[in-house]
Symmetry: C6
Subunit: 229 residues, 6 copies
């Protein structure tokens, strides 16, 4: 099985070597869990370390904010954009089908191998019918798989809800599911990442603490250490 190394510290270890090539990974978490950071980092590491081009699709945030925020992390997306190796796509959740063509042509043009969609939740607010939402995500997945991309789709979980996605259908379309937790332990809040499922592959079954640093997120893969806590 071919795998795509995310380049995120500790992540590749807990998924036993990287994301299986061509898969759609659902990345779910509450606000403040670093979902956008993981996306940016995944694309950035692809550009810089693995020579894999990328597309960052944002339904709501605009490219400007993301560009500025992650410039401080040292992710200079602009230089790769100028080289035709990276693109930001932003579009209107009210007219999602329109972006499908744009996305496909962007991926082809750039020769993108890594795609992130941050997020698919706003999408779910527009299509009221969960069947429709499922189909739309499925159609999006079909495009990404046809073009041989390895992708991350973000789902925003409302704090206090118990599910592993916003609408309860996203996890059934995705090949793999990664969940970010933000849990209160008495007076302190802690973050933990869980590899919920990787289709066709073994993975860690543990909850791993992680940090959001000024360079991106850092996961510690040595599980035993954390279990003693």
């Amino acid at each position: 099985m071919d795998r795509i190394k995310t380049g995120i510290e500790g992540f590749d270890e807990i998924v036993k070597g990287g994301i299986p090539k061509g898969q759609i990974v659902l990345l779910s978490g509450a606000p403040g869990t670093g979902k956008t950071t993981i996306c940016a980092q995944y694309v950035w590491e692809g550009l810089k370390k693995y020579n894999e081009n990328g597309v960052f699709v944002s339904f709501e945030e605009n490219a400007k904010t993301i560009r500025e925020t992650y410039k401080e992390f040292g992710y200079d997306f602009n230089q790769y954009e100028r080289l035709g190796k990276f693109a930001f796509l932003k579009y209107d959740p009210y007219h999602i089908e329109e972006v499908f063509d744009l996305l496909e042509s962007s991926i082809r043009e750039i020769g993108a191998k890594r795609v992130v969609i941050d997020s698919i939740s706003a999408l779910g607010l527009h299509v009221r019918d969960k069947a429709e939402l499922r189909r739309m995500i499925f159609n999006l997945s079909t495009i990404l798989k046809k073009l041989d991309c390895t992708s991350i789709m973000v789902s925003e979980i409302v704090p206090g809800s118990k599910g592993i996605s916003r609408h309860g259908v996203e996890e059934f379309v995705a090949d793999s599911v990664v969940v970010l937790y933000y849990e209160r332990n008495n007076l302190v809040f802690n973050r933990a990442i869980q590899i919920w499922k990787i289709t066709g592959s073994d993975h860690s079954k543990k909850l791993h603490p992680y940090k959001i640093t000024g360079k991106g997120i850092v996961i510690r893969p040595e599980e035993e250490a954390y279990l003693k806590k």
Copy 2:
């Protein structure tokens, strides 16, 4: 009572010899519990070990992904397909009645004894009325029973919900119900299988831990061992 041996390690022991012939088994579980793996394994073991032909019906996944994923498990469905002993059926949940004829003719053509439907949950997203869903599943069951198949239907449970099916009606149409759990125990997640009901047969009343290996799932039937944990 005639029984169909699943060939899944440990499964037949906890249902006292296999699935009663001609029954519809509901297999429920959250994402990542290995539902599709059990389906693939059930059909594969039928083909290879028991000379029982099979049909794999997928509402959403396409045959390609399943074929590739399970080839790595050593399940070479292609060779049996060429021999006319196996078929993948894939269809549109928006036009489910259309597949009924196709399913019936496929089963007859192949002489299938094992059928898996992975999953019936998307179906439930399209028919909003639970009575309609129940009838549709009932009609599907009627076809399968008429053709003397022993079948597994998959229901996708949203993590955090308490039911044993997605829509709360599937378990009343099925003859038998098997539930897969994915439970967090402090910092580690564990998997367990429960035989909820087997119509007309005794079965284990315990929760059995299981593993998803590179060859399929493995259940340990020696219950006492696990109870000591």
Copy 3:
């Protein structure tokens, strides 16, 4: 007060001698709790031991499955059917009023004293309005009482819900209510029966464990024994 002995081992003891004659008993439980078995056993014991004829009404299951399943229990309904002492009625929940005439004429023809309706839950899926459902169950009860039958109506409870019926109205129409529990105790699931209410009669206030054997269900009425567990 006249009572109808169910003939189910242990059941008559915990209701202080049997079901009060002419009552409608609601029998509620999750899948796998043996609701259909209790129904079959109640009718069978009537035929065999008490010379009381019976009608088994099934909204969804077909007579064939029930006949075959319980033949293995030693309940040979066919012989009594040939003698005109027993009938299976099966009908369409979409056209429930049609069965009312059929049910009335069947009961009169056979001279049935015991009637079971397995189940009234599908009914509730068709009438969306709980008032309508209540009225329909009430009308059904009226027929059964007019014909002097002592009846069991089955309600299917979704596992994880807290009520004692599917729709929250059935228990208010029935004269008596019996609930079957299926509870997880660490790694083992246990069954227990509770007599929730018997109009006009005393009854056990305890939860009694029971078993589903190859001959039917068996309840142990010696309450003290179980309380020590």
Copy 4:
């Protein structure tokens, strides 16, 4: 403050002498808590011990069942009916306004002082709008108060729900509220009565165990005894 003695053993003690004259008491409880028995007993004691005439209004049960069930308790309503001191009223929840005139004329004819309405819950199933339900119960109360009756209205609580009435509005229309509990304590179910509120009067703040005997319900007012349990 004038009070109406219910004559129910122990009840009058825990409400400090009886129900304040002219009030509407809401009596809430799950099935099997003896709501109908308290109603029957309240009317019966009025007839027999206090020479106060009564009307029993039943939305669903028919007079025949109630008459027969409580004859076994020794409540011979028939003799008082013949004397023009008691009446059963039964009517259709679909046409509730029709009963209002009938109820008013019955009360006047009989000179009733005690009225029971068993139950107002079916009413709530027909009027979907809670405001409408509240108004209807309020209108019913107005009639009863105008005619100087002291009344009990029954509300059926679905087991497992947390409220003190079926629809969450009944308790705000009633002057007083009495709640019947049926609680599981390990393997045994116990009954307890609580005086939730008596407008303008002190009352016990405790949960009192009670029994349903062959003569009616019996409450033990000595609170200390029960608290030691």
Copy 5:
């Protein structure tokens, strides 16, 4: 900051001297917590002790019942009504706007300083839209503030719900919020009052037990004493 002394024993102490002048206080509680008693007491004390005139607005209860109930407490509203210092207003929740003019003219005529609205919950049953309800309560507040009244609005909480108002919007319109609890502690029910918020003022942060006596409610402000319980 000017404050209005309620005159309720212990209440003024826990709000640090009285209700800030001109505010709208939301008083929330389940049935039987004494909401109406606090309202009556607040108006009565104004009339008798502080020479502040008052208006009692009741959406559902009629003046007669309240007059009679509180006459037993020694609150003789009739004498102040004759003096033109007090008025009962009663109106139809279906036509709430109509009462606005009436309320304004009554307040002006009487020169009322204290107004109680018991309750605003029925209002919420009529306007289905929470935005509409919020606006209506806001409009009501505007009138009361314009006329310089210090007011209490009652919200009826359904027992078992977790909110601090019936509809979840009332607390955001009110300046201050007082919540009455009725909590079960094993076999006894206890009452406690909480000052949830007083805009622009400090207040007790504790739960204070209180009693409903034949003279009105009595709160003990010495907090330490209760904490030891």
Copy 6:
């Protein structure tokens, strides 16, 4: 990263120096948690200490109440209003788009750097569709960012709900999220503040107790001290 110092005692320390310039902060809390006080204090400190002009937008409260309440805190907004350095905007949630132009021109006129919107929750009551609400908040954010303001938007949480915003979408539009808690600990209620997320910045992960004093809120940033409690 440029930061805006709030000037609120202890707040700037727990966000590592102030709110990142140009961000939208969601401030969520139940009634009585001091949300409006933080808003007033944020604007006031800007005017007085940092020479940053401000706009206070209120959907429901009127300028008069806020002016009067906070005058007692020593916040004399009037003087700055006369100097053209501060403005109160109040508008109708039914016609929200109308305020957008007004808001933009006010900010330009005044040269405002600090904007508070208290609250956006009433807004959510008018647009029933969460997608619409999200878009509206997003549009509002776009205006504020275009004009280079650093803003606080208030979300009112219903006590007892688990989310960190009223409607479950606000937190996904905001750059940063601050949550105010009001928790019952036996008989006393305590307040605590949590910095849930600051986009692009580190922050305290702890729950910090705070007080509402006559001068505004006061947070203690020395985390260790509180953890010992």
